[in-house]
């Protein structure tokens, strides 16, 4: 049976890893290549890098990070953050990433999803979504709104509709981040995750709110997620990936145990 994936997420700014709380107050916590290698050896099933470098003229630094990572780790990894075009996708994929993640740019120009899927295959294209809970309205019947630009710009767009649209356009996977839960370490947004994951035919990675192994168990069962993104709980050494997987295994959740 397919294993549920545990995916550490590294936010990288100008070549250095950071982790923010609710997108604010980022602090540097290390070399992304070393951290990726460490997680690879610890049994991460995949790794996600978000390039949060502000200025696009510094983008080359991230490409170099991707090249170094690709020489050292032999599991899939994806790169997102500020990717706007097929040309930028190509740079990241040629540098060695397995997948690229598009977020704000896909909301502004949904065509980039289908162009990317045609050029590289759907399996390469992850749609990243930042979502906020709002009162349900005719424009947002699910009560979950798409927000772009790193959590700053609400779009009056329904998250469920956007997820289904992205799938139709050729996205191969959804990385679903709850802005309300992000950085809290109080647990994933289960209602949102379940809603999206059971309404699309592509895998959903739950993101935002992981603090304890129980949170992963919840989102991988009740939340119907196919994979769970983690950050703080492993970045600061609170848990190892092995500890998390041992716990999940005890809960009868199938995870990869030998690596």
């Amino acid at each position: 049976m397919l294993s549920k994936r545990i995916i550490p997420c590294l936010d990288v700014r100008e070549g250095t890893t950071t982790k923010g709380i609710k997108f604010k107050g980022n602090v540097d916590i290390g070399d992304p290549v070393k951290m990726a290698r460490n997680y690879y050896e610890q049994g991460a099933d995949e790794i996600v890098f978000y390039d949060i470098t502000a200025s696009s003229d510094r983008r080359g630094i991230m490409i170099e990070v991707v090249r170094r990572v690709a020489r050292e780790i032999f599991i899939p990894f994806s790169v997102g953050g500020g990717i706007r075009s097929v040309a930028e996708m190509r740079d990241v994929l040629l540098a060695g990433a397995e997948k690229v993640s598009v977020n704000s740019a896909a909301v502004r120009n949904p065509g980039v999803i289908s162009e990317g899927a045609r050029a590289f295959g759907s399996q390469c294209i992850v749609i990243g979504m930042d979502v906020k809970r709002v009162p349900a309205s005719p424009a947002i019947p699910s009560g979950y709104e798409v927000v772009i630009d790193g959590g700053r710009k609400p779009m009056a767009m329904d998250a469920l509709r956007w997820a289904q649209e992205a799938e139709k356009l050729g996205a191969g996977e959804i990385c679903l981040n709850s802005i309300d839960a992000d950085g809290t370490q109080d647990g994933y947004e289960l209602t949102l995750t379940r809603l999206i994951s059971t309404s699309v035919g592509i895998p959903v990675i739950a993101s935002g709110g992981a603090g304890r192994p129980e949170h992963l168990a919840d989102v991988l069962t009740r939340g119907c997620a196919d994979a769970a993104l983690i950050a703080s709980m492993v970045h600061y050494g609170t848990y190892t990936i092995r500890e998390i997987k041992t716990y999940l295994n005890q809960q009868n959740i199938k995870v990869r145990e030998v690596w």
């Binding site: 049976m1 690709a70 032999f74 899939p76 060695g96 295959g121 191969g172 592509i202 895998p203 119907c224």
Partner: protein, 209 residues
């Protein structure tokens, strides 16, 4: 020297990087002459069967690949490379290389896991290989519980059951490791499957069929 066949089908560099890590010399090539001299051949691939076969024919590689297999040198198919060594693929209704009799089929819709959840397609992520009796030399030294990274919506279905050396469970039990003579072919990506995948590639580099 190991030749990685270049037919514009996906990221061949990841296979090359894994071989670098194993300190195995490689060349990425579409040159029939280079392929005919290579000690071993890797036939990778990501993408769609129709386009892949069109590329192979346009580059004149379809015959070169059949000849390479017929020459008895170790030959490894990966993912799409594995699917198109069969006669036919349901993807784009594509006639394929016909090195191994059989078809490549799409996962049926509505497959369920043991708890009744609908299984998503593509089958994306880590899964096990259950090897049959006798296994295969490229699995040597790999723990039974090891998992490998898959990303695919179609799976190889050879006619001859003896060709199937390993199976994987995703709602149905599908062939994920094929072997016949000097040919080994896998549905997953050993170059992205961590230590067990690297071990498999290393086994292939040493394999004397």
């Amino acid at each position: 020297m190991i030749a990685i066949i270049d037919y514009r089908a996906g990221n061949l560099a990841s296979v090359a990087r894994a071989l670098d890590y194993l300190r195995q010399p490689w060349v990425i090539t579409k040159d029939a002459e280079v392929l005919s001299r290579a000690e071993r051949i890797i036939f990778p691939g990501v993408g769609a069967a129709g386009e892949a076969m069109a590329n192979l024919r346009n580059l004149g590689l379809d015959r070169v690949i059949r000849d390479a297999y017929a020459s008895g040198r170790p030959f490894l198919g990966l993912c799409l490379g594995t699917q198109i060594i069969l006669d036919y693929s349901e993807e784009d209704d594509t006639p394929c290389l016909g090195i191994i009799p059989g078809s490549t089929r799409r996962f049926p819709r509505g497959l369920q896991d043991r708890d009744g959840h609908i299984l998503k397609v593509p089958h994306m992520g880590w899964n096990r290989i259950t090897v049959g009796e006798g296994s295969h030399p490229i699995m040597a030294g790999i723990e039974r519980e090891s998992e490998f990274y898959f990303v695919h919506s179609f799976y190889p279905d050879p006619t001859d059951p003896d060709v199937v050396k390993g199976r994987t469970d995703y709602g149905i039990s599908f062939p994920s490791l094929l072997g016949r003579g000097n040919l080994a072919a896998v549905q997953f990506h050993p170059e992205k499957s961590g230590r067990p995948g690297l071990r498999m590639l290393e086994n292939f580099c040493r394999w004397r069929p």
